[in-house]
Symmetry: D2
Subunit: 144 residues, 4 copies
Amino acid sequence: MQYSVLDDNYVERIRTSFQKQGAMDTIGGRMTKVEPGEVHIEFPFSDAITQQHGFVHAGIMTAVVDTACGYAASTLMSAESEVLTVEYKVNFLSPAKGTEFVASGRVIKPGRIISVCIGEVMVKEETGYKTVILMQATMMAIPK
Amino acid sequence: MQYSVLDDNYVERIRTSFQKQGAMDTIGGRMTKVEPGEVHIEFPFSDAITQQHGFVHAGIMTAVVDTACGYAASTLMSAESEVLTVEYKVNFLSPAKGTEFVASGRVIKPGRIISVCIGEVMVKEETGYKTVILMQATMMAIPK
Amino acid sequence: MQYSVLDDNYVERIRTSFQKQGAMDTIGGRMTKVEPGEVHIEFPFSDAITQQHGFVHAGIMTAVVDTACGYAASTLMSAESEVLTVEYKVNFLSPAKGTEFVASGRVIKPGRIISVCIGEVMVKEETGYKTVILMQATMMAIPK
Amino acid sequence: MQYSVLDDNYVERIRTSFQKQGAMDTIGGRMTKVEPGEVHIEFPFSDAITQQHGFVHAGIMTAVVDTACGYAASTLMSAESEVLTVEYKVNFLSPAKGTEFVASGRVIKPGRIISVCIGEVMVKEETGYKTVILMQATMMAIPK
């Protein structure tokens, strides 16, 4: 879907905001795509984000894909709005075995107040990418 | 509700598993309660887990309450089972303004394969605790 | 929790709205409790609402508890607002074997725009009520 | 995605099961597609399934798309298995204004025990179909 933006400066606005997230710094997240209605964040495996079996913690992946979905919604908001996560739901499809991950957030229904997004975390495998997390999220625009 | 356990050694089993989570070490999580069907994890504010406004990242809180719910389900499982998060849904009720947090996971419907849990993250305030996150989660027992 | 209402006429407003729901008439729903932040709807088993094994259809129960949660949120709204279901998530805890059901909706976090509710469907058994469905729902107030 | 089936007789098995759903008969649902991993159910507007504003009740649409997702998962199960809805989450994207609806359920991650599905309800408009509901659902295979 093609979306038009309300804030021509959205890329810089979002990248600046992303830089302030201590959590994304800890996780090693890099914002690799910021387009109208879609944001990607890549992050590597590290011992700092594991669960008990040595794979990436499901909740940490959730944190990254939440961030991707929130900023995806934010790309379509005005410069005077903040994005707030109202809620999300996540299914875990496969174990997060791998060393390189990409979280994507995509707006599927933009709205003046409420936006609905779909998010995924994919792990890089030899032959391509495998989806390990699927998120359905509700984001909200609030005045700054 | 009162639950009986299948594994008398569940506290040690769960504490040992928890110690292996690099993510919980990064977050500073401490398991403060492990009882049949209920687990609490406390964690402090730190710059390593913030979002763009300097509060604790919603996704990081989700990671902790996911862990609390997973181990809550695990308390009622046999020593031969692993717990796996099938899915969860989280609502964000209030901003996570504070310095001390407690995540709780509670089994509301145990099952041989599928268990349903409710989780909360609360922030310590002067006059008590305020709920900032509410989780409804589905956990699964799989053979080790 | 004790909530105060914005519309003193909320009971009549909600009962009048409920009467207009063709779906609730088909299901045989009766609104048995309308209090600030809480609404109950009772409904009987009937062949018109079954799934393939002859029990009440999970989705039909969802429809009733959605209605209970929506009106629970509506009790705390002004007379100039409509309630809209943003989203919900439902876990199915037990088979819906029985002849009398009660769906309850309860506001756990009221808000000017967004309210979060918890809902349940319980089936009447000889010794009490058993929860068969647990819902976590997000409701929204919109101007009429 | 291309899926292979375990039960060559799955179409008849599923159609026979669908016929037993009193709720789908009440709603006027017709199963218009049964393929490996995907099921469609069409249904018309009727006064028997409305909410207070005269549109189709969100919960009733949920019941139909739950059925579509459940049978979509069932297409990939053995003849000895029953499908059970573990849980689902639904976002409401647009008002259900229209007279013809189609609910689709699609398996996105099949599993021996747990399958994850995506469902949609679309309303027929002059120029095509508009999505009004988006579902993410967890289905489970249990022995008959």
